[in-house]
């Protein structure tokens, strides 16, 4: 199958905050304009636009991506919206990739925006509708249940303690202290701080969870002949993959994200990666909860099942470790405006591979990185491999 080579040549984002005065359109514009400015292109250079945002119900606006498309540079252009829940941010980059890889467009602007704060009294009011309307919602579920049930299944399978898992939150919130867009960066946070936060739905405590956030992120993706003209530091999309598990989530093995493994295998095959642990130098797995980083590292085949916590305790996943994981600070530290948070991970790999991550730069000039997100009914894995 003939595919054109695709590069990322620019990235920009807004600061992530708990509640932004800016509207969704304004946030989208800020991120999109920063991405264009970063590679010295203008909207006239853009052939098509991908605008992704998570559930319309957050904003209370039906067709929300279309509503904010003016801010994302969509006026008068071929525009597509994608939505795979929490997996959306990485999926948006995959959509940008196939727009260009197919040969249909040369230059694509990819914009992800999320404004979770609009939904009152709590965005869970919108989230709760993911539960089955007949067999689950009459039990008056709380969205935290699904994560708590999964986290407990993971901990029990491998005999993990809360401390083993809290180390992820500590690492990521510390990393985020060096991210200029971060909401919850804290260079001094300790594992005791995390373990002392209030219990929400045991084993999930406040410190295990990423914050509700507003924000936007954008990328510019283009064909090789454009990339060579625009920059001398293109970052190539080497592989993409995504996979969906059953929506009957109570029938799944909750201790292992099979959907991530399937997505990773698809992306690695495309990238020619046969030994991910040797060939991938940096990873940004999706970490809306601390245990999910561990879960996803195992699904990405970067550690054996149940072994990611040990690697974390040994410092392997620190920014200066053998496999830096979430050097950005992740969702736990930078913030979790759903779709934007996933694309932030792709942007982080882009900046790290270009050596432009500033105080967050991992040592050793990484050549290849993977970003991954997770969502839908907690069942989708979306994976992208970037390289230089």
């Amino acid at each position: 199958m003939g595919r054109n080579r695709v590069a990322i040549v620019g990235a920009g984002m807004t600061k992530f905050v708990r509640r932004a005065q800016e509207t969704a359109k304004e946030l989208a514009w800020k991120a999109a304009s920063k991405a264009l400015e970063s590679c010295e292109l203008t909207l006239d250079d853009i052939d098509a636009v991908v605008v992704d945002t998570a559930p319309d119900a957050f904003d209370g606006i039906h067709m929300n991506a279309e509503y904010l498309s003016d801010g994302a540079g969509g006026w008068g252009k071929p525009v597509i919206r994608g939505y795979v829940g929490g997996g959306t941010g990485v999926f948006a980059a995959i959509q940008g990739w196939y727009h260009v890889a197919s040969g249909l467009f040369d230059t694509v602007l990819v914009v992800c925006e999320e404004k979770m704060s609009s939904c009152q009294p709590h965005p869970q009011g919108a989230f709760l509708t993911i539960f089955d309307h007949t067999t689950e919602r009459p039990l008056k579920p709380n969205l935290l249940w699904i994560f708590a049930l999964e986290m407990n299944a993971y901990m029990s399978r491998y005999g993990l303690s809360k401390k083993d898992i809290a180390l992820v939150a500590v690492k990521n919130k510390r990393n985020a202290a060096d991210h200029p867009a971060a909401l919850l960066g804290d260079p001094d946070i300790t594992v005791e701080d995390i373990l002392n936060t209030e219990v929400l739905a045991w084993p999930v405590q406040r410190g295990d969870v990423s914050p509700i956030s507003d924000g936007a992120v954008a990328l510019v993706m283009c064909a090789e002949h454009v990339a060579r003209r625009v920059t001398d530091k293109p970052v190539w999309v080497e592989g993409v993959g995504w996979s969906l598990d059953t929506a009957y989530w109570t029938n799944r093995d909750l201790s292992y994200p099979t959907y991530v493994e399937e997505a990773a295998r698809m992306a690695y095959k495309m990238a020619g990666i046969t030994e991910p642990r040797k060939q991938i130098h940096i990873a940004e797995p999706y970490d809306p909860f601390d245990y999910k980083e561990l879960h996803h590292l195992e699904g990405l085949l970067l550690f054996d099942k149940g072994k990611a916590p040990e690697a974390t305790a040994l410092g392997i996943t620190q920014r200066d470790g053998d496999l830096p994981v979430c050097p950005s600070g992740g969702l736990l530290g930078v913030g979790n405006p759903i779709a934007a948070a996933g694309l932030m991970k792709v942007a982080e790999i882009f900046w790290q591979l270009r050596g432009e991550a500033g105080a967050r730069q991992v040592p050793g000039q990484p050549k290849r990185g993977v970003a991954q997100a997770w969502g839908d009914l907690m069942q989708v894995g979306t994976v992208i491999v970037l390289g230089i």
Binding site: G12, Q21, G60, H122, T135, W145, N152, V199, A201, W202
Partner: protein, 166 residues
């Protein structure tokens, strides 16, 4: 990359209290009535009668709960309903101390995934545990359904009040 970050204006509670920012609100009036469908319709009828049922795929042999009228693996129709026990095993659980909108509750709710006896391994449903000390709940614990009295059942998942230790 600091130059690639656009500042945003962070609103604080005080900004609203002091009337420094303007906003509009809206209460949606969107009500829904969901048809239970073929497989879950039968599931609910059986719940009303105090029984749990699953479906068996004639092709792969999996006995599934919640029941479906098709097998998502084999992609063939299913028409065989099979009776299940109203007992099972706790696959995983949580002790939940907050409501959905983050108001604290004293006595935790105990949601669980319960593998139902008679279904294929790993086939669980979500329900609540009751009549149990939260500290005593364990993965692998054997539990049984506590049903509403027959005259109060309405053909809903809540016809089972909760599961309690066997």
């Amino acid at each position: 990359m600091k130059e690639h970050v656009y500042e945003t204006v962070y609103l604080r509670e005080k900004d609203f209290q002091e009337g420094r920012v303007l906003f509009e609100t809206w209460d949606p009036n969107a009500r829904y009535a969901w048809d239970a469908g073929i497989a879950i319709g039968r599931f609910l009828q059986e719940l009303k009668a105090g029984r749990l049922v699953g479906t068996r795929c004639a092709n792969c042999g999996r006995v599934m709960v919640p029941p479906r009228m098709f097998c998502e693996h084999c992609f063939v129709p299913i028409d065989e309903f099979v009776p299940l026990e109203d007992t099972g095993t706790v696959i995983t659980f949580s002790l939940c101390y907050v409501t959905w909108d983050m108001v604290r509750i004293e006595e935790p709710q105990i949601p669980a995934v319960i593998g139902i006896d008679g279904a294929s391994p790993g086939m669980g449903i979500m329900h609540l545990l009751g009549e149990v000390d939260p500290k005593a709940v364990k993965i692998g614990m054997r539990v049984a359904a506590v049903w509403k009295p027959p005259e109060e059942r309405e053909g809903a998942i809540t016809d089972i009040l909760y599961f309690k230790p066997l």
